[in-house]
Symmetry: C2
Subunit: 363 residues, 2 copies
DNA sequence: TTGAAAGCGCTAACAA
DNA sequence: TTGTTAGCGCTTTCAA
């Protein structure tokens, strides 16, 4: 350690120095104080132009680049935010991320995506570690955390919007099934009376909520349900469910829990010689990119994940900014990101749905 | 600012201290030296059990959590890696990322995804800034960068594997079109002679390469091409292309540049009353999740993005580890991540392809 | 406009 | 087993 600032005399003494240049080496080479170099780096215009040029030369000659860790240690600004996700990588979370990233980029922030796993207690601890690590200016948690205390002692904001449980299954806003109600109501208006639901994997809150919403809406509107088939996101199961339907089931509409099940259901129907939507209406969920071009094109629900990510990130940036301004507790309460009338999800009507057939079942 | 270390006398003097507790406060409260606290934090077992308990109490009482920036400054370990991407978010990049993340997690590393934009020069600069920022122990660049110098002076490794151009369009390994050759060869074996290609947006290297590979293979095998239709990823264009085909075109196989175009092509064929694959074989690319359940299910190409991410990250971790071991230049050259016979992409044969019809065209 | 001194919070090295 | 000292590389005082 002691011999480090002078040329190393060890056996592996190379031509290039083994240590990275610091602001002091730059200063020495430019014949100024390290402080002046610091000012120059900061873009301080009070630095003499001549000197600035000399310093710049030294920087380039030494291939100097600032140590951001040291800088962060002094000025408490890192330009970084952390996003907490549960392990696994549902495509929806990646879309949320890309929306969040977009906003963070615009705010000159860099995002760090951190996976937090383990028990609720461990996740809480990890979240607090990150919040207080001084590596970040803010933390956005998309995992479910306990209601953690947020002391006003210079700690950085931790914004929580639980979207996923520990197994990366959508909860909260993501699991909302409102559009299901809209779909069934509209189909009822089109004359449909008897429905079937192809359910997803109930481990996902969304699948559960869609099933519940299905049953609730059927009851609310006085319609009939021929049942709920648990497909667990398995397309084959959905295809078989339709293939095995009794000819006189009287079903004229199938509500599938996602586009894969819906597409598979179409496949099952077509193989039986049923026309969609003339004899059977089918709906999906997710608005996958293929859904627009299948035969027939699929009525489905688009979930605006990226926009959700944008909103969450905007909210975090608001909070970070207001904290930085030293806003006292109640002064500037950034609004919840989902409070206005924005719709997270939206029904996309396409060819796979139509009026109920005149003569219902018996094919 | 000056009044921070003593109790603030200002108007907003709260009950909670305005400053975060440090290791020294913990030490004071526990009646030990800050060094002992540091040791305890490190899990050093030489610390007296009684003392350890006292220290732990103090930590909890003060709600202390270590400043990772300060720690990194001393020990030069941050446990973080950076991944560089161009702005935008191709779905493939998200898959690569999730594979990379998986490996990073296993190695106790946290990933930071950094977007680098601007000119080639600016991107190079930003990459070097990050490499030398001391915030990361390694950098994985998926963007195209110049051939940057990698001095042996304690700088952290920067591994480059250009997969995307500045506009987030796949290049390099991602744009490889090898499987196209396999598809066409097999279809030729099945008796197909006359082909049509539905091309994507040529701004994407992948679309370009697939078209080139199509033309090259057709020529190589002495087959006929009825042409290349530029669809630019637009499903409607693909559907129209098939819908508008002359009845006597003689085409028995369509090679589409992705699953959307392929699915749309099926739609166009079905609307004309052509059966797929009995009268027309159609292939896609991407193996989207829906491709397995469309009617008919789609022959396509699965690109193993997540595995690519895993391999790249393994490679980076290898390099990081060997550097840390102080490996001199040539000692332990971590192998290139893509050198072995692993196939990035794979043809998935499904129902949309079959033998050429006995009596070719004239429908 | 520039320089000197102090210190951010932590850990490595040494001393006790 | 514990404490003391030094210093990581930078920026913020404050003085010249």
């Amino acid at each position: 350690m002691a011999s480090e600032s002078s040329p190393p005399a060890g056996p592996s003494s190379p031509a290039t120095p083994r240590r990275r240049p610091t602001i002091r080496e730059v200063a020495r080479r430019a014949g100024v104080s390290h402080q002046t170099v610091s000012r120059h780096l900061k873009g301080d215009t009070t630095v003499n132009e001549q000197l600035a040029a000399t310093i710049q030369d030294a920087i380039e000659a030494l291939d100097y680049r600032p140590n951001l860790v040291a800088r962060a240690m002094r000025n408490h600004r890192t330009g970084r935010l952390a996003v907490l996700l549960p392990p696994g990588s549902a495509i929806s979370s990646l879309e949320i991320l890309s929306g969040a990233k977009e906003i963070a980029d615009a705010g000159e922030y860099v995002l760090e995506v951190v996976t937090v796993s383990g028990s609720a207690e461990m996740r809480d601890r990890r979240a607090l570690e990150l919040r207080d690590s001084r590596l970040f200016e803010g933390v956005l948690a998309l995992t479910s955390l306990s209601d953690l205390p947020q002391p006003d002692d210079g700690r950085v904001p931790l914004v929580t919007m639980p979207l996923y449980d520990e197994a990366m299954r959508g909860i909260g806003a993501l699991a909302s099934a409102g559009p299901e109600h809209e779909i069934i109501s509209r189909l009822a208006e089109l004359g449909h009376r008897r429905f079937l639901h192809l359910a997803g994997n109930y481990a996902h809150a969304g699948a559960m909520r869609r099933r519940d919403m299905y049953l609730q809406t059927i009851e609310e509107l006085g319609l009939e349900s021929a049942g709920v088939v648990d497909c667990g996101w398995d397309g084959d199961a959905a295809r078989r469910a339709v293939a095995d339907l009794p000819a006189d089931s009287g079903i004229t509409a199938i509500i599938a829990a996602n586009d894969i099940l819906a597409t598979a259901a179409v496949s099952g129907a077509v193989r039986r010689g049923w026309n969609v939507p003339e004899e059977l209406s089918i709906t999906g969920w997710d608005d996958t990119r293929v859904a627009a071009v299948t035969t027939p094109s699929m009525t489905t629900v688009a979930v605006h994940h990226a926009e959700l990510g944008r909103r969450l990130m905007r909210h975090l940036l608001d909070v970070v900014a207001s904290r930085r301004r030293g806003a006292d507790d109640a002064s500037d309460p950034a609004p919840s990101p989902l409070e206005d009338d924005w719709r997270l999800a939206e029904v996309i009507w396409r060819e796979s749905t139509g009026p109920a057939p005149q003569t219902p079942p018996a094919r």
